[in-house]
Every structure is written in C-alpha cells, then in structure tokens.
C-alpha cells in the first residue's frame, strides 16, 4: 500500500477526508490521530501567519471569527511560495467574496492596507535623492521633471475611512472614525513603514508620478483645484520616498 503526495496533501487540507491507507501507527493500525498532527501543524501555522499578517482585520472581526475564516482561506489559498512573511496576497479578494464578512464592508481595504505595510517592510533599500534640486529648478524644468519613487512606497485609495480605522485599532485614545473616503500613503524613511493620510489630490498625483508622468502632468492628473501639493510633496520628502529626479 503506497501513499503519494497528492493523496497526502488532499487529506491534509480536508479535515473530513479519511486518512490514506498505508499511514500507520507502530502496531500497524491506521494512524488517524498521528496524521492529525500534520493537519494541525499546517492549519495552525498558516492561521498564525495570517493572524500576524492581518492584526487589524483580526481585531475588527474578533479572534474566533478570524480563526474560522483563516481555516477557510488557507484551504482555498494555500501559500504559493515558502516566503510566509508575504503570505495572504489573496486576502483582499477573498474577503470581498466571503459571505460572513459582508457586514464589515471596509474589511477588504484594511486587508489591502496591512498587506501593503508588510510589502513596504520587506521592500528593497534605496537612498533618497537630493530634494533641494527641486527647490532650485526653474518652474518649466520642474514641470518636466520625472521623480522615481522608492520600492517601499505604497499607495492605497479607498471609499472608506481606512486611515482612521487603522489608527483607531492600533493606537490608544484615537478618535472614532467618521464616514469619509480616505487615501493613504505608506513610506519607509528607514526600516519602519509609516502610514500617512493623503490630502485631496494626493493619490492622483503620486499615482501619476509612479506611472512615469512628469511633475506637471501629475499635478494635472489630480483633476482637482483643491490639490494640496505642499503637503503631498512634504510627505514624500520626509519619507525618503523620492529616489531620483530626472
């Protein structure tokens, strides 16, 4: 009686499945409880990895709900690489379709935010550009300048107050979130990612820069007269987010 790894994996990920014949106890009887050690190792280790990866999602739904949800997620979306620190890229999409979580409509965006924080944490190191160049440029030259952003920069637009929700669930005495759309920027000045609430037009501006638009075109891309260039640029500069100016 042989057991191949397809049979082993199927039984491993399905707690209802029978233990494959040919896996035995010392006396030769079927190794049911012993096989469950492997089932448990897989489910608990991946569930713990998800809890570590999405602490605010877990806080919003509660530990019991999160563990049950993680059990469904890890069977539908087992990791596709051994880099467990980046596990959970499918979480946002999973949550959009996960019935029991529909009462918290902003949950998928919070999952996206938490994934972005981790991606920023592990992104490549880069040296910031000398931003005094921007101050000394002639206006025409400035409008034509192309800015390269650090790989640790992440941008998330949302119809929900995701910045306020994140802060309210990670900091003591934070104000209660008010219903509004919020866009956030993540920078990593050195090793710790920082979360910033973007002012009006900030998302459009940075998103245009990231796709290679020159400075002037990125301002136009905001499509708003209220665009707060000073604050947006200040966040990029203080976050060491600009790595070259060409």
């Amino acid at each position: 009686m042989t057991v191949n790894q397809s049979q082993f994996t199927r039984a491993l990920l399905n707690p209802e499945a029978a233990v494959p014949d040919g896996l035995i106890n010392p006396g030769g009887t079927p190794a049911t409880k012993r096989f469950n050690v492997y089932r448990n190792n897989v489910a608990v280790s991946l569930s713990n990895a998800l809890a570590e990866a999405f602490p605010v999602v877990q806080k919003l739904v509660g530990t019991e709900f999160f563990t049950a949800m993680a059990g469904v997620f890890l069977r539908q979306h087992p990791p596709e690489s051994p880099l467990i620190a980046l596990y959970g890229q499918a979480m946002e999409g999973f949550l959009r379709g996960f019935g029991p979580a529909q009462s918290i409509p902003y949950l998928p965006d919070i999952a996206r935010l938490e994934l972005a924080l981790r991606q920023s944490y592990h992104a490549a190191d880069t040296a910031p550009a000398d931003v005094t160049v921007l101050q000394n440029m002639a206006p025409d030259a400035l409008m034509q300048a192309r800015l390269t952003l650090a790989p640790a920069v992440q941008l998330i637009g949302s119809d929900w107050p995701i910045h306020s929700i994140y802060i309210a669930n990670t900091q003591a005495n934070a104000p209660k979130p008010q219903m509004q759309a919020q866009d956030v920027l993540i920078t990593r000045p050195e090793f710790d990612p920082l979360l910033h609430l973007l002012p009006a037009g900030g998302h459009g501006f940075i998103s245009a820069l990231a796709s290679g638009a020159p400075f002037g075109a990125a301002i136009e891309a905001t499509q708003t007269d209220d665009f707060d260039l000073t604050t947006t640029l200040g966040l990029l500069i203080s976050g060491n987010a600009i790595t070259s100016i060409d």
Partner: protein, 286 residues
C-alpha cells in the same frame, strides 16, 4: 587528504549557536554569553531589503552564520521550485554563510506550500529522488549542504529501509553532510516505539557537520501511547541532553545549535540552554 569524506561541508566553529530571533538582536550583540555562531531560517531573509536583511548583515560581521532552509521541499515528488532555488543561491551568494542545511522532508505540492516538514517513505524511489534533488541544490548553490533527520509522527507501510540506512545512502550518493537533530531522534523513537540509543548507534556520525537540540510537546495517540510533537517551543529535556553527551563522546565535538522557535523566551533563558550545551561540549576532546 583534504578531499576525503572526513572533510565536513561546514566551517562553523565547534561551539554552541542559537537560532536567531529578531527580538534578541540587542541581547545577542551585548551579552552573547557562550554563543559562538547563529542560525537563521533562509526563508526569513529572502525579502528585497529592510530591517531583516540589515540586521543579518550586521550580525554576520560578528558571528559565523548557518543558513537553515525550511522551504526547499527536497523530498517532493515534483521538481524543485526554480524560483526558490534562485533565491537560495542569491542569499548564500551574498552572505557566504559558514554552513547551509535543509530537511529530509517535503512541504510543497502542486505549487501549494504547506508550511510543515512532511514525512517520506524510506524506499529506493524516495532515495533516488532525494539524492538527485540534493545534487541539484548543491550544484545551484555551489556548495555542499547538510541534511537534517526529521521528527516523525507516523510510519509508511511501504518503507523498506531504516532512516539511518536511508541517510547514509543519501549522503554517499549526493556527497552531502548530515545535520543530526537529537531531539528529532528522541521524538521519532518515542513515537515509533523504537530505541533512540540504537538509532544513534547506527547513525553515520562521521558525516555530521552540525547537531540540533530543541524542545517538544507531549501528547498521546488514540491508544494512549506517547505522541511527542516537535514544537521547538520548550527547553531541551534531560533524556535528550544525555543522548547529546553520549553522541559527542563518540563523534568528537560538533557545532551545536539550540532551537527555540515558538513561545520564544527572554534571552537569558535561551542563553542558559546554550550555556548547558557549552558545558557538555567544551570538555570533549577533538
């Protein structure tokens, strides 16, 4: 004759190391105690940058580093993941660690990474596959590796050779060295109701480049028989310390690691385990 099988594929010092945990970064630099070297899990240092890699670069200036992979899935029926091999080659390339090791286990199937060290039947088919995979790894990474014996919870009815014969033959065919995890020996022997001392008597100690010591949890199976779980979440138990002392008395001193990966304690607790290992290791004549 440097090219004989007695030349071990590691340049770790014959002292005590610990599995590195980021929460111990400052303690290790300030009060390393008896710790001579550090082991990292390869997969935790395969990101593009940030603090993990910066910490590792800093530690590597001071300590010899052992890179211990947990995700290569050497026992998989399918081919090794070329992307993961490339990541490993990159890490070993820039870090130039004192040692590289992996497990006799599988963890990936049809591109799903299952995050556990899953067991293998000990047969000629498995032997051929594992030896071929190890040869491939050693070719790509450009150095010999050490292969670690697993903790096992069950047996395959189809197995037709002992784990020690299996390891000896894999090492002979692939030229790899061995990483002897004495806690795994104790866990497997208890679970399989065999004798750990007999296992060690039959183990090819001449190929051992590193020894692991760690803790386990205790449970029972449906018949009430002891079922030990390799949790790496507790102190090393006395019977494992005894087996360790007996083993190094036979093998001579070997680089020895304390592993503590879950419920990681404060640094003084881990350092005390390292001190206990150092006290057993130091008097052993080379």
């Amino acid at each position: 004759m440097l090219d004989t099988q007695t030349a071990l594929p590691t340049s770790l010092p014959n002292g005590v190391g610990v599995g590195y945990k980021p929460q111990h970064f400052n303690d290790i630099l300030n009060t390393p105690g008896p710790v001579d070297w550090l082991e990292i899990h390869a997969e935790n240092y395969m990101g593009d940058g940030g603090r993990p890699l910066a910490q590792l670069r800093h530690l590597a200036e001071r300590f010899p580093i052992s890179v211990h992979g947990v995700g290569l899935s050497i026992g998989a029926e399918g081919p090794l993941d070329p992307d993961h091999l490339a990541r490993l080659k990159h890490l070993v390339g820039w870090l130039n660690p004192a040692s590289f090791s992996e497990h006799l286990a599988w963890s990936t199937h049809d591109s799903a990474f299952l995050n556990d060290l899953l067991p293998l039947p000990y047969t000629q088919d498995t032997l051929t596959r594992v030896a071929d995979h190890i040869s491939q790894v050693q070719d790509v990474v450009g150095r010999q590796m050490l292969l670690e014996n697993p903790s096992t919870y069950l047996e395959f009815a189809e197995s037709d050779m002992s784990e020690t014969d299996f390891l000896r033959e894999v090492a002979r065919r692939s030229g790899c060295g061995l990483l002897l995890d004495i806690n795994n020996v104790f866990v497997s022997a208890t679970n399989q109701q065999t004798d750990a001392r007999s296992y060690l008597a039959d183990y090819p100690l001449e190929a051992v480049g590193e020894i692991h010591l760690g803790g386990h949890d205790e449970d029972t199976d449906e018949a009430g028989a002891p079922l030990l779980i390799d949790s790496h979440g507790a102190a090393v138990v006395d019977p494992v310390w005894t087996l360790y002392a007996e083993t190094i008395a036979r093998s001579g001193p070997r680089p020895t690691l304390i592993e503590w990966d879950t419920d990681v304690p404060e640094w003084p607790v881990l350092a005390a385990e390292a001190t206990r290992a150092a006290a057993l290791l130091a008097p052993v004549p080379a």
